[in-house]
Every structure is written in C-alpha cells, then in structure tokens.
C-alpha cells in the first residue's frame, strides 16, 4: 500500500500535466527593423494599357482589419515606363483619370468607377492606342514617391499559342460534372521559354447545398443556385508558371489546368468560392443537387502567356509561399522580386486568350480578343 500511494500521486500528476504545461504559447517576435516598402505589381501586355498597382508593406505583427486594407494603397506616385527605343509613357493614378474625357463606352466608365473605389493604388496608361507594349522589347519602370525611387526592367517575349484546348470530365472528381481544361502545347526549341496560365470564369452556375444551420434567409438543407462570375483573372493551381528546362524544350505535350482559388483579400469572394468540393475544377453543367434551376457549363476566359525568366522566378517563389504558407517545416523564402528598392514584380506578358466552355464536345484552337475590361 505504501508503495502504491506515491505511484498514484505520480500518475495523477502526469495526467494533469497537460493543464500545467504550455505545449503551445504565444511568444513575442516583434522585430524592430521592418522595412515599410512599396509593393509593385506592374504589367505590360501588347495591345492593352500598361498598369501598376502600388501598395505598401506593413510589419507582420500589426493587426489586420478593414482600415489596413484602406490604408494599404499608395497614391500620388509618379510612374513612367520607357522602352529600349527611347519612347516613354506615364501611368496615371486611377483617381486622377477622367475616363469620360476619351471614351463614352458605358461599360468602360462603370469599370473605371468601380476600380477607383476598389483600387485607389492603381495606375494605368491612359490613352489609346495601346501599341507601346510590344513583343521582343525591353522596358524600364521608374516609380518616384516621397523621395524614394524604385526601378525595374522586364522583357515582353514573343507570343506562342497553345495548339488546342479541350475539356475533360474527371472521373476522380468529387462530383461527376467536374473536370479540367487540357491543352496541347508545342514548346519552341529555344531554351528558356516560360508559360503562365490564368483563367477567369465569365459565367458559372453556383450550387450550394446547405446543412442544418444555413445563413439568415436560407432554408435548412436547401440548395441555392446563383449565376456568378470571377471578377478578375486567377492563377492556376499548382504550377501556374512552367519553364522548359528539364527536358521539355522543343517538345510537344499535353497538360491540364487546375482551377485556382478565387480568394482575394481585396474583394469579398465568398460568393464565388464557397463550394470546397469544386476547388480545382470547372463545372460542366448537369445538375447534381436537387433543385429545379438550369445549370449551365462554365464559360471561361483562359489567358496563356509567355513571360521572361526573372518573372518566372518571381511567380514560382510566390507559388511556393502560397503552398507552404504557415508550414513551419518549409524553409522560408522571399519572393524573388525584380524591383530595386521595393517588393513585387514588373513583368511583360505576351498573352493569348481563349474563350472556352466546359463541355467535352469541342476542341478550341482559335484565339479570342478580349475587350479592355475583360483583361483584368
């Protein structure tokens, strides 16, 4: 008996260990010297206006709320892009742009109004024709704000189309009406080509199966059906940039596009991206859930671009951070920016668009020419 009591006490002590020990605790990690730099996302595309979105970095441990988003944009910067031929354009802050002065197109006016509200840090090449951005040319970016100067250089490669695009239902998908777009591509036999794949659903029938506790106004265990669209282009999932090293140079191959997530912190995308089961897929019509509405196949605008090697390194590092973000076992790496004295990327994309529908009966080979407001 005498021996049992100490044993018992020790066991009890051990049992209650979890309460007396912090397996996980918050620690002070504040770093005194954060950088507060300007973040640039500047894009040039032949046939379309060059634009740049400027934001500011913040200390990692500062709180994030609606004010953060409001304060994050950088206005009042002076931005110019010059070509290797000596031509130059200025990018004008969207708040200073009076679109009605050079276009009466109502859709365009509405677009710019909404951009002014949502993205006050957007700067855009104001006046058509948009022939400044050309393939096989190099460009220099200069940004001046509050005495700081940021510079960057990029090259717009020549465009190279996909041979064909088609849709295939995926038998392994969670629902039978889901699939991917496949494409056949012939890589030019010059080494160093990089492709970037993006997509934007112009039309999507969203079906939501609610459980026992739906939001206000929705009946339990019902199905909601809404027609939605993606407000902007989204990068494909898992390797939206690929280069032709490692044996792909000069070869023809088939590969497929995985639909990226619409999550965007600058916009409320809950409407588009609620259906977790459909992540990674496009929908090909056919109603699976019980309701009486029509379900149409997705209409998708694909953007297939050539970008230069520095841009590839940047987007690849961004892809890596996205996929390993928060994982403590991943070696942290910074995005490989080409902006001097700033973060972000200045890149040119030789883009070719395809307007495709998620149905198995069609092979697409013709390119599509989107309007200005479709390219964002």
């Amino acid at each position: 008996m005498r021996k049992i009591i100490p044993l018992l006490l020790i066991t009890i002590g051990f049992v209650s260990c979890e309460k007396f020990f912090e397996f996980e605790q918050e620690v002070d990690f504040s770093q005194g010297n954060t950088n507060n730099k300007i973040v640039v996302q500047a894009v040039m595309q032949p046939g379309y206006p060059a634009y740049a979105l400027l934001t500011r970095s913040e200390p990692f441990f500062d709180p994030v709320n609606a004010q953060t988003i409001d304060n994050v944009f950088v206005e009042g910067a002076t931005i110019s892009i010059s070509s290797e031929d000596g031509e130059q354009v200025q990018l004008i802050n969207i708040l200073d742009l009076n679109i009605a002065a050079f276009s009466q197109d109502e859709e365009l006016i509405n677009l710019f109004d909404s951009l002014q509200n949502a993205l006050p840090g957007l700067y855009i090449q104001p006046t058509p024709p948009f022939t400044f951005s050309q393939a096989n040319k190099s460009y220099n970016l200069e940004i001046i704000k509050d005495g700081d100067t940021l510079t960057a250089t990029t090259t717009i490669p020549s465009e190279h189309p996909m041979d064909s695009v088609w849709f295939v239902l995926d038998e392994g998908a969670p629902r039978p009406n889901l699939g991917n777009f496949w494409f056949h591509y012939s890589d030019p036999d010059t080494l160093g080509n990089t492709i970037m794949i993006e997509h934007k659903r112009l039309f999507h029938t969203k079906e939501t199966q609610w459980g026992d506790n739906p939001p206000n106004g929705v009946s339990p265990n019902s199905v909601s059906v809404n027609d939605v669209e993606d407000p902007f282009f989204i990068k494909a999932l898992w390797g939206f940039v690929r280069n032709d090293f490692e044996g792909l140079n000069g070869t023809s191959f088939d590969t497929y596009l995985q639909r990226g997530t619409s999550n965007n912190i600058l916009f409320d995308t809950s409407e588009q991206d609620f259906e977790q089961e459909e992540n990674g897929y496009f929908k090909s019509g056919q109603s699976i859930l019980t309701h009486d509405k029509d379900v149409f196949p997705d209409t998708v605008l694909l953007r297939f671009s050539q970008i230069d090697y520095e841009s590839y390194l940047f987007w690849r590092s961004a892809d890596y951070q996205n996929n390993s973000g928060g994982n403590p076992f991943a070696e942290p790496i910074n995005l490989q920016s080409n902006i001097n004295n700033g973060y972000g990327i200045f890149y040119g994309q030789a883009a070719i668009y395809y307007k495709v529908i998620a149905k198995e009966d069609t092979i697409y080979t013709e390119r599509f020419y989107p309007s200005l407001f479709e390219i964002f």
Binding site: I10, F14, C17, E18, F20, F21, E22, F23, E24, Q25, E26, V27, F29, Q31, N35, K37, V39, Q41, S57, E58, P59, F60, F61, D62, P63, V64, N65, T68, I69, V72, L237, W238, E246, Q258, T261, N263, I265, F267, D268, G280, Y281, S317, A318, Q321, N322, G325, G326, N327, P328, F329, A330, E331, P332, I333, N334, L335, Q336, Y343, G344, I345
Partner: protein, 780 residues
C-alpha cells in the same frame, strides 16, 4: 676492402650482441563473470612504465626485451590483476578480471584509465563505460547513450526534437555512427531522446570529436563507435526493466560455455497507449502519439585461440504523429534502421591481428505533413553493403601500426515525393534510385618517440564513384587504372601528438583532413528527419573538412580530478543546402542535384571540462563557447549567416552522490543558447494575396534551452541471491520549462480580411513538460 668488410662484420656482431632479444606478451583480457572481452583494458608493465590498451576485440600485444616483469591488468570497475612474468619467449597470457566487490570509487562516466587522458596520443576522444552511466537521471528511467554524450563539451543536441547530435559545429550528417561496424544513419528514436542503442546490449562507446584516426573516414565531424556485448558466455542471464512509458528485456547466455554466446535485447514504448486516453477528445492535440520498438542481437563463436566469428544485428522502427486540429495541421513520421554485421577475427601471430567484416545497413524514413488543404509526403531510404579488412600490427611497444581497406556499395532513394493541394494529387511514376561505391585504404602508426612525445601519424586514401553497380574487384581495378568517370579520390592526412609536460599533465595537438561523400540535404528550418541522404556526383562535390585542435590536460590529486581545455578551429567546404525556393517535387524521378547550392562553413570553439572521478560524490562540468557560420553565394544574398545549430554557450553539469550501498542520487543540468530561426519582418498584398517578407537567414534566436533532471536509484542487492532488482525514480524537466521546439506563425481573430479583425501571432511549440517516471530493473 678486406678491412672494411671485417669492421662492418664486427660492428654488426657487436650490434647483434648488445641488442637484447625481444619477446611478445599477448592475449585477451575479459570479464571473469560474464566472459565479455574488455575493450580498452590497460596492460601496464611496471618495470619500464610501459602500458598499452586492449583493442576492439579485447586483444593486446606488447613486445619488450627479455626479462622479469610485473604486469598489471586493469579495467575500471573490475579488480586489477597483477601477474609476475618471466618473459623469455613469446608468451600468450589471457586474463579474466574479477568484479570489484567493493563498490567504492566508481566513477560516473568511464573516461580513460587513471591517467589515460594524459598519456594517450589521441585527443578529443571520450570513452564511456555503459555500466557506469546507469546512475544518471534518465528520461522515463531509460539510460541513453546519446543523451549522455550530449552532456560532454563540444557535443550538442538541437533540443527536444533533434534527430541528431552536433559535434563542434558539424551537422548531424557529419557524424559517423557505427554499431559493431555497421553505419547507423539515424541514431535516434523519439527525436534524439532515446537513441537506437539499447544500453543493456552495449559494451563500449567511443566518441572521437577531433584528431580522427586514419581507420575512420567518410564523415567530417566525429565518430561514435559503439560495440555490442557478446553475451555472457558463462551463464544464462536475464535483465529487464519495466517503466511507466517503456519496457525492455535482455536475454543472454552461453550457447557453448566459454566458446559461444548470444545476446538478444528488445525495447518498446507504450506511451501512445497510455497517453491517448488522457488527452481530452476535444483537445486540439487528440491523435498525437508516438511509439517505437527495437531489437538488438548478437551471436559469437570462438573457433580457436586464433579465430572468432561474430554475427550482430539491429532492427528498429518509430512512428510519430502530431495533430493540431484547431490549426488544421498534422504530420506523421515513420522511420527506422536495420543493420547486420558478420565479423571474423584472426590472429596470424602474436603481433598481427586482423578483422574482416561484411556489413549490411539500411535506413528508411517517411514524412507526411498536412495543413488544411495542403498535403505533402516524402519517402527516403539509404542501403549499404560494406566489406572491411583491418590489420593491427604491434612490432614493439613503440609502434602500433594499423592498416586496412574498406569498400561500401550505397543505394539511395533520395526522395520519392507525393503531394496534394485541395483535390489535386501529385505522384511519381517510379522510384528514382542512385548507386555509388565508396572505398578507402589507410595506414597509421602510434609512435612513442620518447617518454614525453608520442605521435599518431596516419594517411587515408579515400575514393567515391557515383553510378553503379560494380563488384568490389571491378571497383579496385578501375581505381588503380583510373578507368571510371565521375570519380572522386582524395588523400587524407591525420596527425596527432601528445607532449607530456609532467606526470599529471600534457599538451596535445591534432590535425585532421577528411572528405565526406554522402550528404544530408536539409529542407526544413526545423530539425526533423525530413532530410535526404544524397551521394556526391559531378555537381554535388564531396564535403571537405580540416580541423586543428590543441589542448591542455591536467589531473589533480592523484587523478581524482581531471581537467582539460581544448580549442578547435574547423573549416568545411562544399557544404550542401537546398536552393531558396527549391521544391521537393522538382526532384521526383530525377536527381536532386539541380536543387542544391554549395558553400562553406567555419566553426571555432573553446571547451572547458572539469571532472571529479573518485569519491562518494562525482560528476563533471563542461562548458563550450563556440561560433558556427555558413556562407553560400546563393543564400542570404551571399552574406555569411549563423548555422542552424550554432550555439554560443553550452553548459552541462552532472553530479552523482552515493549515499550508501542502497541509494544513489544524481542530477543533471543543461543550458544552451537557443536555436536560430529566420525571422519574418513584413507582410504585403500582391495579386490579391498576402505574402511575407523574411529577414536575414537564421538571424533570430529562439529562447534558450535549459532543463534540470534528477533521479534516485534504490538497489536491493542481496549477496548470494540470484534475483536482484533496483528502482529508479526520475524527474525529467524538474521545473517544467516549456523549452522551444519550433515557432510558427498563424493568424487569429474573427471575420475575414476585408471585414474582420485579425492578428498574426508567433506561436512556440514545446514538447516535454515535467515528466516523472519510475522504472523497475531486474536481473537474474
């Protein structure tokens, strides 16, 4: 001409007459109670103050002038035997030492013999007698080899969660760990908390931190050479231990008395079984669990006085699972080693001893991690077939010549990766394998120049060929004809010397140059077994190291106190790291080489050591101050950065007090500067997502690691009773410190980023709270 010839003849005759006849005294020294051959037993000739040690197999050979001698045979913990010898011919004398019935003056850790630390030309070497480490506080009552050597200066673990130990700033892959000559690639269970070495089956542990002798090679930092017991060749014996968390059982005994014996020893933890019910179902950590088992065994047969064969093996497996459901985060790690060695000792004559070995070694691990919608699994393995022949030639007491040849055939599966993000799965079509052949020739001599100066000079010729398979004979044929392509060949000089300042103090220095042909590429910033073993190729060059060490050794009060100060400086080239942004799926079905970047490293340190060897209270204090850096052109913008495991200060204090013949108390305190980490500085929005900007690599220090353990052992030893037992009560982490294991970042708060209030936090994970344990050990 005739006169010259006559003079020469007379000179030679005189020389011959004046040179006395020399004879060899040789034999084996063993433990009389168990029949175990004793490694490092001292054979000391009093008349000419000459002493040598028995080799790995308990063999000694001493060639001295004809005469009458008094020879002491000694091994700590056993009764010294004195023999009077009239040496007038080559004499074989096998000695069996009795157990020391009086248990006084036992030391905590068997370092050398009384003044071996002063005498030996080897420096930076530590020998540990397993018998005497059992009184230290032990986690869950389990004595551990790796934990004990981590208490010595110059040796560190990276904290709880380490899968290796670090010696003088070297990486965990830079330690050559041998179990009966078989390479053990990951010597840890439970993240370095238990080693794979079951102390009940181990006879001898030798750690070489610097001044590496020529018979060892292939790793830059250290050699941990561990020998298994042969098994009691006199009587059948059972040893066991039942603990709260783990248990073990060892069976040993003669197959044929005094000729052949066996030992088999097994362990298993059942912490998963015990702890799981105690974690609330609602706890975020439900599902976290761990277990391991291992089996160590050996059989030996003495064919004759000249020949013995040994067959030893090890098999072990670990599985660890961690869950944090709140954060949608979990990982699983199963891993383990398997080894088998077959060895044949042969005595050509009293001076020439040879051992031939054929060895198999295999290490497999798998790592899977999942966080929310992202999942990643990595499988890796390395398999070796190895053959060795090692000669030991002792022409006289002034020379101890070793020479031999080694050959290893490696098969690597460096990384077979599968991944999933959302519903998208990535899997390789077939497993990518790499083959290589590694060989070495060496020769060394331990030379006693005079009473003060002893030099150990050695030369090792090592080579590595990537791509195979080829046979041993083909390998050596190609080697000498220079036929093969993609071949690395290097000369490795080894030198150490001892200069005796007086009877109780000496100065030592050593220089080691060595190459390492297989490498551990580390993908993570946290020490987990997620690392991959890869071979040297055209792109991945062999790692190259040079170490210079000097030291002063002094004993006080008749060797009651041992002290030493050692300083070292190491340079390493062709170190390997993953490139920034390298992704594991880049390497599926192909070589990892393009993902690596190469650089160099440097490590400097000063080690202080003071030990009380004798008396009721014994122990030691070790302190190391050091700096370990790396420089890679492609990492951290080419700027030098601290190595992951750079520890500025490292302190270990142990104390053991024998109250009486029943109770022994002990305590251990360790302190180490915290691990490095790459800090996060900024965040920013780009393309609708939030990205992080990190600071300089490894520029942040986690909080320091420190811990105290205590234990009490109560032994019921009834003389003349077959059955003996003892109780060990231990408390690990006495003051319940939450030592940092890793730090990660997460976002907490309500709502989303456009409509909410969120806060990023740094969260530190700790593994082990205060853990009391009781173990009951028995023996019959």
């Amino acid at each position: 001409m005739k006169n010259t010839f006559l003079s020469l003849f007379l000179c030679l005759s005189v020389f011959h007459l004046s040179a006395q006849e020399k004879y060899t005294l040789s034999g084996y020294v063993k433990d009389n109670e168990t029949g175990e051959y004793l490694i490092g037993a001292t054979v000391y000739v009093k008349e000419n103050f000459k002493g040598i040690s028995t080799n790995q197999y308990g063999f000694y050979s001493l060639t001295i002038e004809e005469g009458n001698y008094t020879v002491d045979y000694a091994f700590l913990g056993l009764k010294t035997q004195q023999k009077k010898i009239n040496l007038n011919k080559d004499t074989r004398l096998n000695v069996a030492l009795e157990t020391n019935a009086i248990i006084t003056q036992e030391v905590i850790v068997e370092s050398e013999g009384a003044d071996k630390n002063i005498e030996s030309s080897n420096m930076s070497q530590v020998k540990i007698d397993v018998k005497n480490i059992k009184k230290l506080p032990a986690f869950m009552g389990e004595v551990d080899v790796l934990k004990t050597i981590q208490l010595l200066p110059g040796v560190q673990s990276s904290g709880e969660g380490s899968s290796g130990f670090y010696v003088r700033g070297g990486g965990p892959d830079q330690n050559l760990i041998l179990l009966d000559e078989a390479t053990v690639y990951n010597a840890s269970h439970l993240f370095g908390f238990f080693s794979v070495f079951n102390a009940d089956a181990i006879k001898d542990i030798n750690l070489i931190k610097g001044g590496m002798p020529a018979q060892y090679g292939g790793r830059l930092a250290s050699v941990l050479d561990i020998s298994m017991k042969e098994g009691n060749s006199k009587k059948f014996e059972v040893d066991g231990g039942l603990g709260l968390i783990s248990s073990k059982l060892t069976l040993q005994g003669p197959i044929k008395k005094d000729t052949s014996s066996f030992i088999i020893s097994g362990r298993r933890t059942y912490i998963d079984v015990l702890v799981n019910p105690l974690i609330n179902d609602t706890s975020a950590f439900k599902g976290t669990g761990y277990y391991f088992f291992d089996l160590t065994s050996k059989v030996n047969y003495r064919i004759s006085d000249k020949d013995r064969i040994f067959l030893s093996g090890y098999f072990g497996r670990d599985v660890f699972s961690f869950r944090n459901e709140d954060r949608g985060f979990k990982f699983d790690i199963p891993w383990g080693n398997a080894t088998a060695s077959m060895r044949w000792n042969h005595l050509f004559n009293d001076k020439l001893f040879v051992n031939t070995s054929v060895i198999f070694s295999d290490y497999k691990f798998s790592f899977g991690a999942e966080q929310n919608d992202f999942e990643f699994k990595l499988n890796s393995s390395i398999t070796d077939w190895n053959t060795k022949i090692d000669f030991s030639y002792l022409p006289n007491y002034k020379h101890n010549i070793k020479f031999g040849a080694h050959f290893t055939y490696h098969t690597f599966v460096p990384g077979s990766v599968t991944g999933r993000s959302g519903e998208v799965v990535f899997e390789p079509e077939s497993i990518f394998k790499q083959y290589s052949n590694e060989g070495a020739l060496y020769i060394s001599d331990d030379i006693e120049v005079n009473d003060e100066l002893k030099i150990n000079a050695g030369l090792r010729y090592s080579s590595f060929q990537f791509g195979g398979p080829i046979t041993v004979l083909q390998y050596f044929k190609n080697e000498f004809s220079g036929d093969t392509i993609n071949h690395h060949r290097h000369i490795e000089p080894r030198l150490s010397l001892r200069y005796k300042l007086d009877k109780s103090s000496s100065f030592k220095a050593s220089y080691t140059q060595n190459y390492q042909y297989i490498h551990l590429a580390s993908l993570s910033s946290v020490s987990l077994p997620t690392d991959l073993w890869v071979p040297s190729t055209d792109i991945v060059k062999p790692q190259y190291g040079r170490q210079l060490a000097v030291g002063l050794f002094k004993n006080f009060f008749d060797n009651k106190w041992e002290t030493s100060i050692e300083a070292y400086h190491k340079k390493m080239d062709n170190l390997i790291e993953y490139k920034e942004g390298a992704l594991p799926e880049d390497n599926t079905n192909t070589s990892s080489d393009e993902s690596f970047t190469f650089g160099n490293g440097e490590s400097r340190g000063l080690e202080f050591f003071i030990k009380r060897r004798l008396g009721k209270t014994t122990g030691w204090l070790g302190y190391t101050i050091s700096k370990t850096t790396r420089q890679f052109d492609e990492l951290n913008n080419g700027v030098e950065f601290s190595a992951k495991y750079d520890r500025t200060h490292d302190i270990s204090l142990t104390a053991t007090h024998e109250l009486n013949d029943k109770w022994v108390f002990s305590a251990v305190f360790v302190y180490a500067t915290g691990n490095t980490l790459t800090p996060v500085l900024d965040r920013y929005v780009l393309d609708g997502r939030i990205y992080s900007q990190y600071g300089d690599r490894n520029s942040y220090r986690m909080p320091a690691y420190h811990r105290m353990d205590i234990s009490a052992t109560y032994t019921k030893n009834k003389p003349n009773k077959r059955f003996n037992s003892s109780w060990n009560f231990s408390i690990y982490n006495l003051y319940n410190r939450a030592n940092p294991y890793f730090i990660y970042f997460d976002v907490e708060g309500e709502g989303n980023l456009t409509d909410g209030d969120l806060q990023s936090k740094a969260l530190q994970v700790s593994l082990f709270p205060v853990i009391p344990s009781i173990t009951w050990n028995f023996n019959f």
